[in-house]
């Protein structure tokens, strides 16, 4: 389809082959290869094994107990899970997480990429725009949440300003309306997060060889098509990095909700991470909190495992 482009890909794979052949002939024990690097990574491996894996196993184990304030090995089977899935607040949390997840995934990718593509048009003052777009990311979620809590407060935020301008029936109070509060929270998350996504995308776009663009022009492909069918597929690694960053941000969302609504009105903007925290510490019911966090782990695993299988399993 695009002959000039095809060439490039072929060349690259051909170059990497001989290096592998050479190392194969002279290695006594693969265990001692790159010994320095292996020694250096021992602390991290230990941390990962003890803190992450160990902590996870411990949490899952205790989620089958009736531990209250202090952990106790008194097994009650799946009771905590039955209770969890019968709790309206947990169901609302899951629903909110799904809505929030879809919104932040779709919009931060789309807006982030669009901003990056626009900045990539060799415009003037690019540095200035980049700084402006990235600035919100310098703020923590707590600060972001507070700022947007004020902006969206009907008594002195956007609604108040517009009403003062003359539109007295104007109403915009997403944080005080149970049915749309999660969207109000998403606005703040997008405002804070898209700048970073834009930067990652921009780096990806800059990583595309200038020759690709030239080749595409030689083939007479319109610019939008070049982006959609050539540049984006080539940016696959960048997209995967971005996806991981966004997805981990979605699952752990907590501080933003606490700062903006603390779960309210009522329990309309609760999220799973907050359920875990509240039940572990406020309700002094560790078992229930562990069960909820195990469910969070499980939901991440359901997304990651098939993807990892496709990504890494297929190559072997």
């Amino acid at each position: 389809m695009f002959p000039a482009l095809r060439m490039q890909g072929r060349e690259r794979t051909a170059l990497t082959q001989p290096a592998d052949e050479m190392s194969k002939s002279e290695r006594p024990n693969p265990l001692f290869r790159n010994l320095n690097a292996k020694v250096a990574s021992i602390p991290m491996i230990l941390t990962a094994m003890v803190v992450f894996v160990g902590g996870t196993v411990w949490t899952v184990l205790y989620s089958f107990t009736n531990s209250k304030l202090l952990p106790r090995l008194n097994f009650v089977g799946l009771d905590q899970y039955y209770r969890l899935w019968a709790t309206p607040r947990w169901l609302i949390s899951i629903e909110n997480l799904l809505i929030y997840g879809v919104i932040s995934l779709v919009f931060s990718l789309v807006i982030g990429f669009l901003l990056a593509a626009l900045l990539d048009q060799k415009i003037r003052f690019e540095d200035t725009f980049r700084t402006i777009f990235l600035y919100p990311f310098a703020l923590s979620f707590i600060v972001t949440g507070l700022v947007w809590q004020w902006l969206l407060n009907p008594d002195f935020g956007i609604q108040h300003v517009v009403r003062d301008l003359g539109w007295t029936s104007f109403s915009f109070d997403p944080l005080y309306n149970s049915s749309i509060v999660i969207y109000g929270i998403s606005i703040a998350a997008l405002w804070q997060g898209t700048g970073l996504i834009m930067c990652l995308m921009l780096a990806g776009l800059r990583g595309i060889d200038e020759d690709i663009w030239k080749a595409a022009r030689v083939d007479g492909i319109p610019m939008w098509k070049t982006y959609l069918f050539i540049v984006i597929p080539m940016m696959r690694p960048v997209f995967i990095t971005t996806l991981v960053i966004i997805a981990s941000g979605i699952v752990k969302v907590y501080d933003l909700v606490v700062a903006q609504t603390s779960g309210g009105p009522g329990i309309a903007s609760e999220v799973p991470a907050k359920y875990v925290y509240d039940y572990m510490f406020f309700a002094q019911n560790l078992g229930q909190g562990f069960a909820a966090s195990t469910m969070m782990l499980l939901s991440v695993a359901i997304v990651i495992v098939p993807w990892a299988y496709l990504e890494f399993g297929r190559r072997k």
């Binding site: 309210g264 009105p265 009522g266 329990i267 309309a268 406020f282």
Partner: protein
Amino acid sequence: MRYKLLTAALAATVALQFAGPAAATDLEVTHWWTSGGEAAAVAELAKAFDATGNHWVDGAIAGSGGTARPIMISRITGGDPMGATQFNHGRQAEELVQAGLMRDLTDVATKGKWTEVVRPKSLLDSCTIDGKIYCVPVNIHSWQWLWLSNEAFEKAGVPMPKDWNEFVAAAPALEKAGIIPLAVGGQAWQSSGAFDVLLAAVGGTDTFLKVYKDKDAKFAAGPEVAKVFKAADDARKMAKNTNVQDWNQATNLVITGKAGGQIMGDWAQGEFQVAGKTAGKDYTCLPGLGLNEVIATGGDAFYFPVLKDADKSKAQDVLAETLLDPKTQVAFNLKKGSLPVRGDVDLNAANDCMKKGLAILAKGAVIPWTDQLLSQDSQKQKEDLFAEFFAKPELTVEEAQKRFADLIASAD
């Protein structure tokens, strides 16, 4: 268990070093008293403790008990205990005591004859586990109050209500005058507390005890409790325009006449006092919502974690005595707006509302409070339910009552 071993080791070191010299000792005291009235009250405790030659290191944790308790508990279980810490007496610290992390104060209690001076007796009972005393109650806080703004009712042109029913009837007039009839802050414990007050006031003492003490789920699903849910439905309609979170912001709406009233514990009185308002003239209080004049004997108590340092342990004893000292009791409770735990103190300086409370207490019309009856777990579930109920008009009364009954069935 690990904690038991640790405690045994700690107790041994304490016993060995007990003959240390008496000197000024710093003792960190954590609490969640941070609003204006509360801070003024806690300063009285600090003053009294400093006067004994020791030093009160203030460890205030902002953001109400719900935020503060997890921090306190993690410090104690994590091996960084403070000198003393506030909890609501009852079941909040139950497991910490059972794990041997709290000091047994029975000796200090016997010396100070606490069993004779503390009244009502139920206060000390909730500090007692297996016959040993583990905490010092400092005040009686009752939730059963309706605070009304005289200014708001004048503005609306309706007479001051004498009970909850009249208040509900006056709501339309208040709304017409642009006043929020009932202020309920957004924090979950406020709506859940308001319901408990309605349960005791509209339902009556027996209903309250049957639900929370006997945990009778069938009764909780029945017509008696349905009446209470009807009242709670009125309350949420009256409160729907409150756009504040914290309880003292809600109280402030009543102080400034922007709201007609608030169901809140007697700690709200401290706020009225700080704002320079007079009971009877600027605001009116109705204990038991004017329907059922009872007082719940919830309140605050200080617990003393087991410490390694012998000097600090000694200072803990001094603090425990100081907290129950008649003079401290009066000074503290006047500022706090709560009732003293001793029956033998002079409270002439008390204002109208406190005198009403004292009279009810003297009559013995007391009930235990949810902190004493329910575990934190059940309380949290209750909070979730009522936070949703107050914020979501689509949640029907019947549905809410059904969920409430389920909750009572599984409560512990």
